[in-house]
Symmetry: C2
Subunit: 360 residues, 2 copies
């Protein structure tokens, strides 16, 4: 086995737990220092393989080509969303004569390589899905016993990201499996972003479901703010062909994306839990700070949270003063504040106020 090289560097991103893990420092290749941004089909389109009845929403090459088109024409690419990711249910139930995975021939008549070419022609990248066990979660062929072949197949097709799931595999062997696939990917010589989908079913919503049917707008703001604070991958799973303007505006909000993609690459953390409020902070480049104040109370109306900079764990950055900007629920300059200024931040029930704090 070759040692890890710059050329074939593999970067691990754990995204099931909703948290971005910084890459192994020694790789030093710059990849994935910023949370991945893109689109993934699962939460919205699941394992819909019925292209006869539902041609517009089934897992087929058309779906990804259409998403790639819209990502370019509707400002998603410009906002930073780069990966178009296939999730489960894309393969044929049979490997080919050489043991290679192949796409379902009816739903992907031109094959994955052509799809990758199409996505690349739009200036975007293609993600694909596989499973380290004997089957994928949806019952398609798993990669167990085929790690080298599958890694090479994905590289040959020009795939840029692999989501590697953990179904049909013993828990105790997961770590070894992920390591082996990481080595196999490195051996291909192609730089493939590698994300491990730990089967932690209690965390189903690691994908951004903003623009779907289940979250109120306040809840959508909370998801976006928390994902930015936690440096989680911004992987949307919605229908970009049909999304309401308010959700689109939220997902493309440049101030929130700047927090997510801050070059310092630090992850945020919760600093306080009081009176059904949660306060989170994330250190940003330039000595700045992002702050999120969540109103966890679902009943009632908007509530004011008294914010005094001196009470923050990172208060020192505001000695003697800071400039405070509100990013969510609406953009508002809150001006210059001293350590003891009394700010009141109004937060909607189930919503979040997102702020940036800049030392002066």
């Amino acid at each position: 086995m070759k040692p890890v090289t710059k050329m074939g560097a593999v970067v691990l991103v754990l995204f099931t737990i909703g948290a971005f893990i910084s890459p192994v420092k020694s790789l030093n290749n710059g990849l994935a220092l910023k949370p991945t941004m893109g689109w993934l089909h699962w939460e919205r389109f699941m394992c819909n393989v019925d292209c006869d009845t539902d041609p517009n929403n089934c897992i087929s090459e058309n779906l990804y080509m259409q998403m790639a088109d819209v990502m370019v024409t509707e400002g998603w690419k410009e906002a930073g969303y780069e990966y178009v990711c296939i999730d489960d249910c894309w393969p044929s139930h049979q490997r080919d004569a050489k043991g290679r995975l192949q796409a379902d021939p009816k739903r992907f008549p031109r094959g994955i390589k052509k799809l990758a070419d199409y996505v690349h022609s739009k200036g975007l990248k293609l993600g694909i899905y596989a499973d380290l066990g004997t089957f994928t979660c949806g019952g398609f062929p798993g990669s167990m016993g085929y790690y080298d072949i599958d890694a090479q197949t994905f590289a040959d097709w020009g795939v840029d990201l692999l989501k590697f799931d953990g179904c049909y595999m013993k828990w105790t062997l997961l770590g070894e499996g992920y390591t082996n696939m990481s080595i196999a990917l490195n051996q291909t010589g192609r730089s493939i972003l590698y994300s491990c989908e730990w089967p932690l079913y209690e965390w189903p919503h690691h994908q951004l479901v903003i623009g779907n049917f289940g979250l109120s707008h306040a809840q959508q703001e909370s998801q976006m703010a928390l994902w930015a604070i936690m440096a989680s991958p911004l992987l949307m799973s919605n229908d970009l062909r049909d999304i309401c303007p308010r959700s689109k505006q939220l997902l493309q909000n440049t101030r929130i994306i700047a927090i997510s993609q801050d070059p310092l690459g630090r992850q945020g953390y919760r600093t306080a839990k009081v009176d059904s409020f949660e306060v989170w902070e994330r250190h940003l480049s330039g000595g700045r700070l992002a702050l999120a104040v969540m109103n966890k109370q679902e009943i009632g109306g908007p509530r004011g949270f008294p914010l005094t900079l001196a009470t923050l764990p990172s208060w020192k950055i505001c000695h003697p003063q800071c400039n405070v900007t509100q990013v969510l629920p609406s953009y508002k300059e809150l001006g210059v504040q001293t350590l003891l200024s009394k700010l009141v931040v109004v937060v909607n029930p189930s919503g979040t106020a997102l702020l940036t704090v800049t030392p002066i």
Copy 2:
């Protein structure tokens, strides 16, 4: 004690359990055969008594006067919403010298009678709140030992509805307490709609929270459809002064309100639970039927529910055929259908399709 008379008839409405209970038949006074429609402050404004900091949202006479104004100017009254209801936290902590409840003098400087006059001048009705125990849930004076005095006070003020809560009272005495207050209200000679708030804390959302912060639009459609099917009181608890157009349109949807207020006065029920769908039906006047199909699956996209009239418990009304109209998620005439026609109703995740079925 006087027997129940037509004059002072008291009608019981249990609304904590989210269900409208038909009045005792023998009263035959026509009151409350239709679910109550109106507005109640609790879910949105709770026990906010801080008028110094939050004058616009605290429990004060201004809040109810403003809601009454908006109910007239913004089409709520015309749509059928009639009651403006005060919930907990309106009284002074002290009864007056004669043992009567009195409104907090700072927040209700003109008193409840003047507020009732104002609400009546708008063609609306006023609801008030009390508790059958020693305290209200919010810690204000309870009615225990004062049922006759309080009933007379409410009648003297011109109150039209009483929500009688069950805090600070033994469970085993609740039934007796409600009966005694019912008798006391009858004795006043004023017709007061009487609703009992059983302290079933597992059912917090008996009030319509459409237009607040916690429900997605699909969930709001489900609440409205289910409340109509179940003949539940349409008591909104939101901020009518600031409500988004889509939520307003839903709450004022005349076709849904017609189902809620159908003169047959029957309550709906669930008829099927299959593949994460629930089917509910309610018998309407004219031999018609209302149908609700809920998509209880929160992940994924809209799903088609195959609807064949022959599978309905009430299929006989469609022999030989029926006209089917979709009311939610959008109005659509689905046309004449035979018992074996294959209709596919598309339902959003966490949303509900509401239909009416009319025999031909």
